[in-house]
């Protein structure tokens, strides 16, 4: 049996702002096994990126509460202090590719020079050796190694994104967090990046957290799916079950709003908009937009475990 790689339990992260406390990540739990990919899907502002930042511990300064358990290889990362986390985890074990990371490449510094920074800084590796590793990493994402001496301004968006992914893999991490890795790219370029990620997944057994708002795209990588709504994961299930039979009313509606090419279905949408995370409703956060809402929904539904670690946060699934 494969062992549990990452397990996030009751993670909470709130921001302090002028207008009050923003509950960006509010009691979130999910887990993945080694070599698995969990897709984190949800609409903008639901807290997906905040969750990623909470895991890799790259948080803005105005965080007011940050607590919970993040078990990584059985070790609770929350017990590590900042220095230990920086030395032992970030980059070496877990890497993070933030949204629009391709724009962070300095256009006038050679690709190779920028790629090797994690190696020369964290591992104190010599420049020549680091550049060799960088060349190898480029080949892995389907880019000719001569591109080490090119400048980012000469490259297309898809090329830059591949370089970013190659860089994130340079230190041979065990887990990579990809935040909307293809959202600004074209259809064909996006497919190309997905192919690369699939083969990396297959060949290296890398675990991934794949954050996206695009449900169709999420199925390109996901072994497990976590649906986030208003700071909470409302459903966590296997890909097999989720794409054919989503359980939470929000997931169902979301699935109904996905246009499909190959099947004919009626499209639907969710009226209204998600609640503010400044002052979310006391009960179920989706209740106001939910067609099945009933008395119970005035209270916060617990995570109802249906099978192992998989749950749905909805009163409809409470056994009587």
């Amino acid at each position: 049996m494969r062992k549990e790689h990452l397990s996030v339990k009751h993670l909470i992260m709130y921001y302090r702002t002028m207008r009050g406390e923003v509950r960006a990540v509010d009691d979130v739990s999910f887990s993945l096994l080694k070599g698995e990919t969990v897709a984190l899907i949800g609409e903008s502002g639901c807290g997906k990126s905040s969750l990623a930042k909470a895991i890799i511990r790259l948080m803005p300064r105005n965080v007011s509460i940050y607590k919970g358990i993040i078990l990584f290889n059985g070790i609770n990362l929350m017990d590590l202090d900042e220095e230990e986390f920086r030395r032992k985890i970030r980059w070496s074990k877990i890497t993070y590719v933030p949204q629009a990371a391709l724009n962070s490449l300095n256009p006038v510094i050679k690709v190779g020079e920028q790629m090797i920074e994690p190696l020369t800084i964290i591992y104190k590796m010599g420049k020549r050796e680091a550049l060799e590793k960088a060349a190898e990493a480029l080949r892995r994402v389907g880019i000719d190694e001569s591109f080490i001496d090119r400048y980012p301004f000469e490259l297309s968006g898809g090329m830059k994104q591949r370089i970013i992914i190659a860089t994130a893999l340079l230190t041979n991490p065990e887990l990579i967090i990809l935040d909307e890795p293809t959202s600004s790219l074209d259809t064909l370029t996006q497919a190309n990046i997905m192919n690369i990620l699939k083969s990396i997944k297959r060949e290296t057994g890398l675990s991934m957290i794949f954050i996206t708002h695009d449900i169709s795209l999420s199925s390109e990588l996901a072994d497990k799916v976590a649906v986030m709504y208003a700071g909470q994961i409302v459903e966590f299930d296997t890909a097999e079950r989720f794409y054919s039979n989503p359980k939470h009313p929000y997931s169902q509606k979301l699935m109904d709003s996905v246009p499909t090419l190959r099947t004919n279905k009626k499209l639907d949408f969710i009226p209204g908009s998600p609640p503010s995370l400044l002052n979310p409703p006391k009960g179920c956060r989706f209740a106001e937009r939910c067609q099945f809402a009933f008395n119970n929904c005035a209270e916060d539904p617990p995570a109802i475990y249906l099978d192992g670690d998989f749950y749905v946060k909805c009163w409809l699934y409470m056994r009587k």
Binding site: Q190, F242, L254, M255, T260, L261, I270, S273
Partner: protein, 334 residues
């Protein structure tokens, strides 16, 4: 040729675009030689009254330029645009005012398209003032009607708000209300949903659909996302490197794609399916050409899996009708 076909079938089109070209001059300081970026290079299409068509292409293929040139926000370099029986290709500034009233534009980024310091009411009032609706009561009535059309109701809740107080979907509704407030004959919707969230996208798509069906609004829908076209338009034009490479009725094109580029596009778009993660998709290598110096022959030939040496790389394919109303610009069929 495209136009002829539809004229016979469906009566006189509202819009007829023939061999339209739009080149942008690139100033080369060092070489002193003029070069051109050929953003739209010989595009023909037609739009029947009350119809919705889609123009699908990747970024940089010239689809936005095509939309803007059709709206005469750009001056065409060559070709003809006939709108409602009138040649508007070279209309002067004064006459264009008439054309502006008959057309509307919905842009991609709703927040960027709305002035942040104006209320919804003032935003919608401006086109009315400019177009000489002098009576204030009449203006107000039209604003109410426009907001009701885009379902921002009750109108009182929205009319005095500023754009930042609205959600993305509501902002896009205001943009659509503004584009349609003068009841134009045609609107160009350029990626109207790509900046919006999944659940809101369909709301806007359905709204555009309703405008078309209920108010007989003719719409040119420009998008990079093939999967949304099927719910919306009657005809699809596939654009690659400044040219239309295939056009057909929506169902025909999706079920029976002919051009290798269209096939590649359709092949890589996923539907939500857990099996997807085990498939490595066929993606044509390379990237779209630079429009300053497109390749000779067919512009897709450097990436094409069906490339025929000595043919595709030397002669430009002409547009061939392979089935009724289905046109392809590809040597495989000629």
């Amino acid at each position: 040729m495209l136009a002829l076909h539809e004229e016979v079938v469906m009566g006189a089109p509202l819009l007829l675009v023939e061999n339209l070209r739009k080149y942008f001059e690139i100033k080369r300081v060092f070489l002193g030689k003029k070069t051109y970026l050929r953003a739209v290079d010989g595009v023909s299409l037609s739009l029947v009254r009350g119809e919705a068509i889609s123009i699908v292409g990747e970024s940089g293929c010239g689809k936005t330029t095509l939309g803007k040139t059709i709206l005469r926000l750009y001056k065409p370099t060559d070709g003809r645009i006939i709108f409602d029986g009138r040649d508007i290709t070279h209309l002067g500034w004064k006459d264009l005012k008439w054309y502006r009233r008959e057309t509307g534009l919905v842009q991609q980024d709703p927040f960027g398209a709305l002035p942040p310091f104006m209320t919804v009411k003032r935003i919608l009032e401006e086109p009315l003032v400019i177009n000489g609706v002098k009576n204030r009561r009449e203006r107000e009535e039209k604003i109410y009607k426009a907001l009701e059309r885009v379902k921002l109701t009750p109108v009182e809740d929205f009319i005095n708000k500023y754009p930042h107080m609205l959600s993305g979907g509501q902002q896009q509704r205001v943009v659509i209300a503004r584009a349609t407030i003068l009841e134009p004959k045609m609107i160009v919707a350029d990626e109207p949903i790509s900046m919006l969230d999944a659940s809101v996208r369909i709301e806007i798509l359905k709204l555009l659909q309703e405008l078309q069906q209920k108010y007989n609004q003719s719409i040119i829908y420009i998008t990079h996302d093939l999967s949304t076209t099927k719910y919306f338009s009657e005809r699809i034009y596939i654009m690659y490197a400044a040219q239309i490479v295939e056009s057909a009725s929506t169902s025909d094109l999706l079920q029976n794609p002919m051009h290798p580029y269209t096939r590649a596009l359709l092949n890589v778009i996923p539907d939500p399916d857990p099996g997807n993660r085990f498939i490595i998709r066929n993606v044509p290598a390379g990237e779209p050409p630079n429009l300053m110096n497109p390749p000779p022959g067919c512009r897709f030939h450097p990436r094409c899996p069906n490339f025929i040496k000595g043919v595709c790389d030397t002669r430009e394919p002409s547009i061939i009708e392979v089935a009724k109303g289905h046109y392809v610009k590809c040597w495989l069929y000629g």
